[in-house]
């Protein structure tokens, strides 16, 4: 098994969206493709991935360091010595030689996106969907079974005009599509207006549907505590990212004052950052943890974070990977986590799970295609296959 080519490209994500802190008008993503020398069903086995949502493209370090290192890696850096199978976390360790400690975000997205593409290829080589490969490699009992897993719809961004009407139409669309739990943005309006917006959303969510809020790191300590106090009576699913991801003291204070769950983790880029967040930040008993696999060195590091979280009192059932895409769906299923996020209709070709995944009663069915299954997400797959992989 050899890797014969790898390439990447920066693409604009066309998203007229705004959360409490930023708009996404300049947002980009990096897509990667990795070609192996293996064939299955007459086609060359290739792996594809992209660097999730919400962080800009990371092609610089890929082009300048990590793709050249990957292509130069000897088989002993890529393959499990016992099974001879492609071993993506082993490849990551090789990519990180000659890297100084710290500064994870400078490289974790480039390395993590390559790792996911390697997992796509690894599962295709085994002829099964990625979640089954992950469940076996990490020994998660039952996680390789075909099933449907909990999945909520993320959205509710602030719109420049007609925000309330569009929000209600959006949520109704999620419910009609089979979702039950919905997450909307929070903290982007004066408190009273935001509460009114929340109450509008709640008016649509009955019969076991729950509302979660994402404050997108909007608040300082006092604001965060005041906001948590104001929303406490609603009994929401969770309050996500009330403050800066490094403001551990505020996270802890909110998790102590707020009677519900506090969520966070999409801005943690390594096991070291996750360890400190869990050690100094929110109480583990009150936390929903949400790292994003391709942003944070990939599945291998995600699995390390799952084990660290367990030591801090966060069980797998309260870990839900960020990034509403097929990569996070496979990680949620294969590692036996609490569920997945989805961004139906957002982020253009990058949003959604493709035509294999059905949403029903708040659960997402799992893909059956080998690998991640981008092949069954036609608009995105066309973008991947336009990469000059056989150049």
């Amino acid at each position: 098994m050899k890797i014969v080519h790898a390439c990447e490209q920066t693409l604009r994500i066309d998203a007229k969206l705004r959360n409490a802190r930023v708009d996404f008008s300049e947002m980009t993503a990096t897509i990667v493709a990795i070609a192996t020398d293996q064939f299955r069903d007459g086609r060359r086995v290739a792996g594809y991935a992209f660097n999730s949502f919400g962080r800009y493209a990371c092609g610089g370090p890929m082009r300048e360091r990590f793709i050249p290192r990957l292509l130069a890696a000897p088989p002993s850096d890529l393959l499990d010595p016992d099974s001879g199978r492609l071993d993506p976390p082993r490849a990551v360790a090789a990519l990180l030689r000659r890297e100084k400690a710290g500064a994870h975000a400078e490289r974790s997205m480039a390395v993590g996106t390559l790792e996911l593409a390697l997992w796509d290829a690894a599962a295709k080589l085994e002829g099964r969907p990625l979640y089954q490969t992950l469940a076996e490699r990490y020994g998660v009992a039952g996680a390789g079974e075909p099933r449907a897993i909990p999945c909520y719809a993320g959205g509710g961004f602030y719109k420049p005009a007609d925000d309330r009407a569009l929000l209600l139409r959006e949520i109704q669309g999620y419910l009609d599509a089979g979702y039950r739990d919905v997450k909307i943005k929070a903290g982007g309006l004066p408190l009273a207006e935001d509460l009114d917006r929340i109450e509008s959303a709640l008016s649509l969510l009955q019969n076991g549907s729950r509302l979660a809020l994402d404050a997108s790191c909007a608040f300082g300590r006092d604001e965060a505590l005041a906001y948590a106090r104001a929303i406490a009576p609603y009994g929401l699913r969770w309050l996500e990212e009330p403050c800066d991801p490094a403001d551990f003291e505020t996270y802890r204070a909110v998790s102590q004052a707020y009677p519900g769950l506090v969520a966070g983790g999409e801005n943690l880029y390594s096991k070291e950052e996750a360890e400190n967040f869990l050690r100094y930040g929110p109480a583990g008993a009150r936390l929903i943890l949400q790292p994003d696999p391709p942003l944070a060195y990939g599945v291998g590091e995600f699995h390390r974070i799952v084990r660290i979280a367990a030591r801090h009192g966060v069980p797998a059932a309260r870990i839900m990977p960020h990034g509403g895409n097929l990569m996070s769906l496979h990680v949620a299923a294969g590692l036996g986590l609490g569920g997945a996020e989805s961004y139906p209709g957002l982020f253009g070709a990058f949003g959604g799970f493709g035509r294999e995944v059905r949403i029903q009663e708040g659960r997402a069915s799992l893909p059956a295609s080998p690998g991640i299954g981008f092949e069954e997400q036609p608009e995105l797959y066309r973008i991947f296959t336009a990469l000059p992989l056989n150049a």
Copy 2:
């Protein structure tokens, strides 16, 4: 005052060096040049900078986000509204619009390097060396005075062959060149051999010369404590980076157990990371703090870190910027800090301070040229001026 052009380039730093964790055989740097529409002495005022040492080039985010944003910025994003002068930290705030919280290292080097180039231009527009501009802008009494500031030689990397003989020759060279304090790498050999290497170095350092050690994040907790215990009798200048930069518990334990000073900070990339390091990590009373200006959003963020450090019991006299280059020398002088580092003879054209700076009795004189003064570092200046700035 307008910025009419900006460009960057990735260059290899030819360095056959090894510390306790990594070698530098693939090391690169990013250089930038920014052209204004202003002229002084018949020449167009341009600003130059590079992204310090030890972190790879950061051209990706510069090309894809920050240079386009800088060139598109209206004057109100670049100029102080009262004085009309170029205001680099104001430009940084504009560059960071549309950036999510966290993930600082992904952009802090690109933004910080551009900020230093803007400071170079700002000081040239005022016709004075950068440290004088900084002393005035930040109101640091006496820091604008021409003088010599404490400066130590950093080096002592592990060599593939003849390590001991080369180390002694290197240290003797520093002493002959006018340095007194010297820092060498540590933690890259078994303890007994490392101690023997330290004793060799100490045999050359008499008459007030002091030795500092840089362990380059080599150790876990137990090793770090054992190492600190073993070197305690030598009474060294400081022990730098005994562990991972995010391993706050080990930092704190070492700073409590070791009777001397503990140093760290070159792997902190924002005020948020510095705040947590100071809050949870080493005791402020025992710390030498060493952030690197272009790696961590530039001088504006460095000044914020200086103020945060003061709240944690670290006075300016115990802050010494990482990065033995003219940029850090100006920051050390202009903000009235404890001193500067120097890497004489290392890192090719990027090492050293140029022909204006004299080293005498362990102090470095300050440059008199307007701006940072790369013009008086001819080999490096040729590299800057080869950029297609007027294309």
